[in-house]
């Protein structure tokens, strides 16, 4: 516990100082957005074992809604973000209500298929800009007081939200609600026989995860100033799965680590090796599934526990 606290403290200090260490703030913000996205995904996958293969639907649709409202409707930044989150929450409610009726791989296939519907809607709708997407989205300001146009200000804004959500997720997982989710993960029939309305718990977890994924998407739209079809695509859904697996699903820090690794890889490899990038990502997927199912953080935690457990 103490070790974990120290690690978290060091990471927060590092994140606070990062813009002064010569790291490019926009890239750091991109990392934070995807880390937030992966944390949201992990809340569902890591603690309920429900594999949603369509999380880009919530990420991307919130990004589109926020981007559109802020750019063409003149909405404020905060209102825009909130609207994005509400849309992804409603979307999560509809898709979740259908998907929780089946388990395991069926759940994965259904979320994937319904996310594809969202993709096609974004492709054909007017407000999304179709193939072009949305461009030059202004960052605006926090309630007209704090202008976010500066990269450093924006960075601390995103970091504050990220830390708040990260702590919130910890709280949710440790809460009685989180314990019930873990019970459902461990033995669903037993949870049902104990009187828990399992489907309702799953749906709440799904909606929470979708809303937070939406928050990540909205922030990403503001940070980078553009939204494209990639944000709602199957590729984004897959890459959040990879981030979570690689970092360690069911751990708090795992998704953060995984997102950093995957985003950095994608960023630098795409210049270096072109279309081989998907081969490399695919190979990481295979290696991860074959020999590294706990992920980085999961593996470290296991070693650490084993050492402290033995007398």
């Amino acid at each position: 516990m103490r070790a974990e606290f120290t690690v978290n403290l060091v990471l927060v200090l590092f994140a606070l100082l990062a813009p002064f260490l010569g790291l490019y703030p926009v890239f750091l913000m991109k990392l934070l957005c995807f880390a937030l996205f992966a944390c949201a995904f992990n809340l569902l996958f890591g603690y309920t074992k429900m594999l949603s293969f369509g999380h880009a639907a919530y990420f991307g649709s919130a990004a589109y809604v926020t981007g559109w409202l802020v750019t063409t409707r003149g909405w404020g930044t905060i209102e825009g973000i909130l609207a994005g989150v509400v849309v992804s929450m409603l979307l999560g409610l509809v898709i979740g209500a259908i998907a929780v009726r089946r388990q395991g791989i069926y759940f994965a296939m259904i979320t994937l298929a319904l996310a594809q519907v969202v993709y096609f809607i974004c492709l054909q709708a007017q407000f999304t800009g179709g193939e072009n997407g949305l461009q030059s989205i202004p960052r605006g300001s926090v309630l007209g007081i704090l202008a976010l146009s500066g990269d450093r200000t924006m960075y601390y804004f995103v970091l504050a939200i990220f830390i708040a959500v990260y702590l919130g997720i910890r709280r949710i997982v440790h809460s009685p609600f989180g314990q019930v989710l873990k019970a459902i993960r461990a033995n669903e029939p037993r949870a049902i026989s104990l009187g828990y309305k399992v489907d309702r718990y799953k749906l709440v977890a799904f909606v929470l995860s979708a809303s937070l994924a939406g928050l990540a998407g909205s922030l990403k739209a503001l940070v980078l100033g553009f939204v494209t079809l990639t944000d709602v695509s199957q590729d984004t859904s897959a890459s959040v799965v990879l981030m979570t697996l690689l970092g360690g699903s069911g751990t708090f820090l795992g998704p953060v680590v995984g997102a950093n690794v995957v985003v950095t890889l994608e960023e630098y490899l795409s210049d270096l090796v072109g279309s081989w990038v998907s081969v490399i990502i695919g190979a990481i997927f295979v290696v991860c599934i074959m020999i590294f199912r706990r992920g980085f953080v999961g593996e470290i935690q296991r070693r650490f526990r084993r050492r402290t457990d033995s007398p």
């Binding site: 594999l51 089946r102 395991g104 791989i105 259904i110 594809q116 081989w276 998907s278 695919g282 190979a283």
Partner: protein
């Protein structure tokens, strides 16, 4: 001229024919997916990639090795099937005792690798594959011209699906396969080599996908990404049909192809999503799928 919903009849029939052709691909692909799932409990995400590899095998055969269409129809599924067997032995075999989602994720990774390699070798743009000479032209049915190749695709795929159904449901080999699906350990205790059967089943399912790829090569553009969105539609098709059901996979594949074609006529914007919407409705109404049994 006769019109339906304000659309001339020949246009409708043309779209329905296209829908039926797509439906044949759905049927072949979802059949393979259902057979693999039945025995291995693995949802093969790489199914679309194997379909793509089948089409590319035909293309490469014709361009570089002088293998004609008819030979490719035999050789491409064989080659891709062998590749499938290698993948089963190297990777999938070690995941059977784990939760099925790991199989899904592994095959997804394999699909990424296959698509990435093909893209780096052949680029992202589509390649065209000529229609074999014997099947060029069309029948004039009076109210529309039916391209011979399209009719051939439907005929070939329905025949192959029917044969597969017969093999699984009506022969001794199929009985063993069904027994192993029901209870692998007990079947093995009766002296049937289940691991080999699993391996060959995966190979056969993958070969069906490759066959669909070869059949598709002359009617669609052969490109590295041709399978990646198709596989999602096929997932929806098997969810609608009910995962374990062989006949369900075939019938719902063909029917959904037709429905998709019909939607293209009356409301083109929805044609990409109609299958998914039907899936959602079916799930609300019958969670196990139309032909599936509730476990």
């Amino acid at each position: 001229m006769t019109t339906v919903f304000g659309v001339p009849l020949p246009a409708i029939l043309g779209q329905l024919m296209l829908g039926l052709v797509n439906g044949s691909f759905y049927a072949l692909l979802s059949l393979g997916l259902a057979v693999i799932f039945g025995l291995l409990g693995v949802v093969n995400f790489a199914h679309g990639a194997f379909y793509m590899l089948g089409a590319f095998a035909a293309y490469i055969g014709l361009q570089f090795l002088g293998v004609n269409y008819w030979l490719a129809l035999l050789l491409a599924p064989l080659a891709v099937g062998v590749l499938g067997i290698i993948i089963e032995r190297l990777f999938l075999r070690h995941l059977y005792q784990l939760e099925p989602i790991y199989g899904l994720l592994l095959t997804f990774g394999i699909a990424l690798i296959a698509e990435g390699i093909m893209r780096s070798q052949f680029g992202a743009s589509g390649k065209s594959y000529p229609v074999p000479e014997l099947l060029r032209g069309g029948f004039n049915l009076g109210f529309m011209v039916l391209p011979i190749y399209r009719a051939w695709v439907v005929l070939a795929s329905v025949t192959v699906c029917g044969m597969t159904w017969f093999l699984i449901e009506r022969t001794r080999l199929g009985a063993m396969l069904r027994a192993a699906t029901e209870n692998a350990k007990l079947t093995q205790a009766f002296g049937i080599n289940v691991p080999v059967m699993v391996m060959l089943t995966f190979g056969a399912g993958v070969a069906l996908a490759a066959l669909a790829g070869v059949l598709a090569a002359p009617v669609v553009q052969v490109s590295p990404l041709m399978g990646s969105s198709l596989v999602i539609v096929v997932f929806a098709v098997v969810v609608i049909g009910g995962m374990g059901s062989i006949a369900g996979a075939i019938v719902s594949g063909l029917v959904l192809g037709l429905i998709e074609g019909f939607t293209k006529v009356i409301y083109p914007e929805a044609s990409n999503i109609v299958v998914f919407v039907i899936m959602a409705v079916v799930l609300i109404w019958r969670p196990a799928g139309l032909f599936g049994k509730e476990q």
